[in-house]
């Protein structure tokens, strides 16, 4: 299913003939050209009709850019590994891309309210913007009004439904069992989309100066912006709280103590054990600035970390999770932007490894000279930004091929 605007872009020339990147630029130029031509032919007041008209066209095009990004993102969500969460995502997609084009409804409401306002309640506004002889351009003005209303309606529609989606997903995620979860990649795109909706809301502020002479419209714009900002920030807040890992892996990450960190040294792999902490979202380990892995990460940020649980009595009861991604070194410079994270990570380490770290302090003399002089200060936390997660449960028997 496609939104009407997408269908126009895909099916109607000249847009359908253009590569996607140029569509919105051509749209901008075309609308501007038509608008300015009409304004000149009908001798409209230039600094209102042309200036304000251009601002509105500009906003319409900016919104179009976001729309063309948001729509495919929503359609790209893959099936969630939790049946219930999957139902939420599917419903969300179905409402947003309803075959009866429900997405037009909020736009129609906005359109008719303003049509009524301009023609019945406050006809002077039309004279203010378009001059006394504006009958000839009403069709173009109405089309522009529809363009704005349709996209504004789409913005509300998407933002509201995303908020509902985030709340439901968070609620359901609390009841997950074993390996149920929604894919990290999709959770991230949802978050990015909400951020887009936030920008979508902020863009509407550009229209504000155009209508500041009119109280009703200015207030409507402010209300609209606030609504979008609140909806989308709440949605971001809730979606970030949805765990991106299933309960089984969360348990493993919460209970494990040691991990193996794989890094790259030119074209050779390197792997060493570390102690780590998990804050519910990310895995962190601490490393010395003189260690090999630190030097490796500084050159190539690609990293893998494996956390496992071994049962000494039964090799088959082992489970392991491998997280592949990028390493973010939380060095001195990160004090500026990641102080809360640094404090949280430090506390997590102290709580989890109280005894373990205590030994370092007690038996300082057993440490190599270099370590004694540069104690914990030179141990820098590294955050793993995940890109792929692999989970094993139970080793299989060693099969000897015959």
């Amino acid at each position: 299913m496609r939104w009407i605007y997408e269908l126009i872009v895909e099916k109607i020339p000249p847009f359908s003939l253009l590569p996607k990147v140029y569509v919105t630029t051509v749209q901008l130029l075309l609308m501007e050209f038509v608008g300015i031509t009409i304004a000149l032919i009908f001798e409209l007041p230039p600094n209102r009709a042309i200036k304000y008209g251009s601002i509105i066209i500009f906003v319409v095009v900016l919104w179009s850019v976001l729309t063309l990004y948001i729509a495919p993102t929503i359609r790209s969500f893959r099936p969630s590994l939790s049946e219930e969460e999957n139902r939420v995502i599917e419903t969300y997609k179905r409402i947003l891309f309803h075959p009866k084009h429900l997405e037009v409804v909020p736009g129609l409401v906005i359109f008719f309210i303003f049509l009524y306002y301009f023609f019945v309640i406050n006809p002077n506004l039309l004279i203010y913007y378009l001059g006394k002889n504006h009958q000839g351009v009403l069709v173009f003005a109405a089309i522009l009004l529809w363009d704005v209303s349709y996209r504004a309606g789409l913005g509300v529609w998407v933002t509201y439904n995303s908020l509902v989606r985030s709340i439901l997903l968070l609620k359901i995620s609390r009841r997950r069992k074993k390996l149920e979860h929604t894919l990290l990649y999709d959770l991230r795109s949802m978050e990015r989309m909400d951020l887009n909706n936030l920008v979508f809301g902020l863009i509407s502020l550009i229209i504000y100066p155009v209508f500041q002479v009119d109280l009703f419209i200015s207030v409507s714009i402010i209300v609209y912006v606030c609504m979008l900002l609140i909806f989308s920030s709440l949605s971001i807040y809730f979606i970030r709280k949805v765990p991106w890992l299933p309960p089984d892996i969360m348990d493993l990450l919460n209970e494990g103590k040691f991990a193996y960190v794989g890094t790259v040294e030119s074209i050779r792999p390197h792997v060493t054990p570390v102690v780590y902490v998990f804050d519910g979202r990310y895995v962190y380990f601490a490393t010395s600035t003189v260690s090999k892995k630190y030097k490796n990460i500084k050159k190539v940020r690609k990293i893998a970390i494996l956390i496992d649980e071994r049962d000494p009595t039964d090799l088959f009861k082992n489970k392991a999770v491998l997280i592949k991604g990028r390493a973010a070194v939380l060095g001195i410079s990160s004090l500026l932007y990641a102080l809360p994270t640094l404090i949280r990570v430090r506390n997590l380490f102290h709580r989890k490894f109280q005894k373990y770290m205590g030994v370092y302090k007690r038996d300082k003399s057993k440490l190599p000279k270099a370590w004694q002089l540069t104690p914990m200060v030179r141990r820098i936390p590294v955050k793993i930004i995940p890109e792929e997660v692999i989970y094993w449960r139970g080793a299989r028997k060693i099969r000897i091929p015959l």
Binding site: P269, A304, L402
Partner: protein
């Protein structure tokens, strides 16, 4: 120094799990826990893996591997002991295993059998292949003290 100290041999013989790190073609590290054996005569480590597994795929494109084998103590970091082996892996597919190599391969299976007794099974339809790791360098640590043995 070309001889492997007994301390290191002990770790290689007594530990069931090893953590093998390979590189994907884009240099992304990949780690997998493996069962392995060490054959002292050839100073080589062996493991078995499904021919379609990610690590075999990686090794075929880049044979450089790293393997960590360690003993860990949750309450005292000074008791942590382990080693990092760096070397080059070779995949011995069943077709490649020449007839004159068969006795050697069987000997390696025997080492597997003695180390992992109850965890072994014999399979006729297995897609598993034998992989050997030729050791270049071993780093050994006890607590914070490191030593390195170079074999090549």
């Amino acid at each position: 120094m070309r001889e492997i100290p007994p301390k290191i041999l002990e770790i290689l013989h007594l530990n069931y799990f090893g953590y093998l790190c390979t590189l994907e073609p884009d240099l992304q590290p990949h780690i997998t826990p493996i069962f392995f054996v060490y054959d002292h005569r050839h100073k080589t480590i062996y493991f078995l893996s499904d021919i379609h597994s990610r690590k075999i795929n990686n090794i075929l494109k880049n044979p450089e591997v790293a393997l960590t084998v360690d003993e860990r103590d949750e309450s005292d970091p000074f008791n942590n002991e382990g080693l990092l082996v760096r070397g080059r892996a070779t995949v011995h597919s069943p077709e490649e295993a020449r007839v004159d190599m068969l006795p050697e391969i069987y000997e390696i299976y025997e080492i597997f059998k003695s180390k992992y007794r109850q965890f072994m099974t014999v399979s006729k339809s297995s897609r598993d292949v034998l992989v050997s790791i030729e050791i270049f360098k071993i780093s050994h640590w006890v607590g914070p003290i490191f030593t390195t043995v170079k074999l090549r």
